[in-house]
């Protein structure tokens, strides 16, 4: 197997639309969750979400942009950033050996929602001609392939909240085993359409709004946590063989060291300690490292009662007594739950944190939960944490667990 470098990163997120912005805001614990002011917000029990500030990406041709759902626009813009930051990763590449791997849980939900509004809300049959092309889950990956001329595998993974961790992991496998010389991998999600927000609300997994401070409504690992807050955005990574990145003098931002997956095979929503622990163990095995080498964790940490308690138990099951001493960051507190894009954004945050030698804070941790007795880096970033290896957890409805093992660039 070959070592796989991350040589480019692009982001669109509630924490900003560049790597520098995202790191700065995550480090400062500045939340991207806000009170929604859209017309339909009045129909939401908790009118909050983590919104990305990107309505028109300047680098996307206007003629093309009108064919893109919001999730495709995010993905395309993030891929442009990632390629740009890679210092020429595409130069000289055989396009047949370059692939695209995108995770999304909900695809073009804005487009589909608008279509249903036309059909049912307005009692009109005039569905827009591009509705299918914009709504389909593989639209984002397809546009990235077109944009960059990548002719290898063009894959879309939809495993709910682990989609983009799966996408990155599957891309890593292809590059590590020599099938591909380059992959653009990550995820994108734009789930803040009225229908989607109401559907999530109906499931009773979303947080109640903190009326004093709406931006602090998501509180992972805190006793008073009440659920997740939906977020939107995309994160894309350039993956290539370590030696190729070195040879061309690329800025290596980190290394994908391993990837593990498991399925709970027990319940459609209720998480399983055994299932999550199995995914973490599988990831460590694929990375060829022992649990004692893990020095930081980015938790799935959604802020639901069930997830956080289960995840804490899974971490204890794998890491034993050390679990209480590994810095664990639940960054969804400030960027919300990006569903199919969450794993990719959290992978990026993990790499950036290692590079900056810090543990990102778990914000809004007001009342530590004894059932989640981990080192949760409560409310303030911890500087001077020189972790070499970070585990990034992504768990999902449907029970598809995916875990990435990441190594600092200098290792």
């Amino acid at each position: 197997m070959r070592r796989v470098a991350v040589s480019g990163i692009g982001v669109v997120s509630p924490l900003g639309n560049s790597v520098a912005e995202v790191l700065a805001r995550a480090r400062a614990g500045r939340s991207g969750v806000r009170r929604l002011d859209t017309p339909f917000a009045s129909r939401l029990v908790a009118p909050i979400a983590a919104t990305a500030q990107l309505d028109e990406a300047p680098s996307i041709d206007a003629g093309k942009a009108r064919m893109l759902d919001r999730f495709s626009q995010f993905a395309l813009f993030a891929s442009q950033q990632a390629v740009h930051s890679s210092s020429g990763a595409l130069a000289g590449i055989d396009p047949a050996r370059a692939g695209v791997f995108v995770g999304t849980g909900m695809g073009g939900t804005h487009t589909m929602d608008a279509g249903y509004q036309t059909l049912y809300g307005e009692d009109s049959d005039r569905i827009k001609p591009f509705t299918i092309l914009m709504g389909m889950h593989n639209a984002a990956a397809a546009w990235i392939g077109i944009e960059h001329g990548l002719r290898g595998p063009n894959m879309t993974y939809s495993t709910a909240c682990s989609s983009s961790a799966v996408a990155i992991g599957e891309a890593w496998l292809r590059v590590a085993y020599g099938q591909l010389e380059l992959a653009l991998a990550g995820g994108s999600e734009a789930p803040l359409s009225p229908g989607s927000l109401k559907a999530w609300e109906a499931l009773h997994t979303v947080a109640t709004m903190d009326t004093d401070e709406p931006s602090a409504s998501c509180r992972p690992f805190s006793m008073n946590r009440s659920g997740m807050v939906l977020g939107e955005g995309a994160a894309m990574l350039v993956l290539e063989p370590w030696d190729r990145a070195l040879a061309r003098g690329a800025p290596i931002l980190g290394e994908i060291l391993g990837y593990g997956q498991s399925n709970d095979a027990s319940h459609i929503t209720r998480p399983s300690v055994d299932g999550q622990a199995a995914a973490i163990r599988a990831a460590l095995l694929s990375a060829g490292i022992d649990a004692v080498q893990v020095e930081a964790i980015n938790a799935h940490g959604t802020g639901t009662q069930a997830n956080d308690r289960t995840e804490a138990a899974a971490i204890r099951a794998v890491f034993g007594a050390r679990a209480a001493h590994i810095p664990i960051s639940a960054t969804k507190a400030i960027h919300g739950h990006l569903l199919g894009a969450a794993g990719a954004l959290e992978c990026v945050l993990s790499l950036l944190a290692m590079q900056a030698e810090l543990a990102l804070p778990t914000m809004h941790l007001q009342q530590p939960d004894p059932d989640c007795d981990l080192d949760s880096v409560a409310n303030r970033a911890r500087e001077g944490v020189a972790a070499q290896v970070t585990v990034s957890n992504s768990f999902a409805f449907g029970g598809t667990n995916a875990v990435l093992v990441l190594r600092r660039a200098s290792a």
Partner: protein, 95 residues
């Protein structure tokens, strides 16, 4: 009176982001980046703007002049309202 061509140009400038100076009756649709998919979208908007119901039978449209003639024939045949309406605004960017 606004001509069919002028109303068509308004759609192409607004929705297809084409510069007005590139638009002429002789301009091939292909040269404007309007392929078969783009033509489907254009005709969808034409239905709205010209208050027409387009037949489902396929039609060969090579130039903007062809589109203008096609619209004019349909307007004459269907007696559609002659009051122009603005093209529908793209709704890609709800937040």
């Amino acid at each position: 009176m606004t001509t069919t061509f002028e109303r068509l140009c308004a759609i192409l400038v607004k929705d297809h982001k084409l510069p007005l100076e590139r638009l002429s009756l002789y301009a091939p649709l292909d040269s404007l980046g309007i392929d078969s998919l783009g033509t489907v979208e254009l005709l969808w908007t034409v239905e709205d703007v010209f208050h027409l119901k387009l037949p489902s039978t396929p039609v060969e449209l090579a130039t903007l002049g062809d589109v203008v003639r096609y619209i004019d024939e349909l307007v004459a045949g269907q007696g559609a309202a002659l009051t122009p309406t603005l093209p529908a605004a793209p709704s890609l960017r709800t937040t």
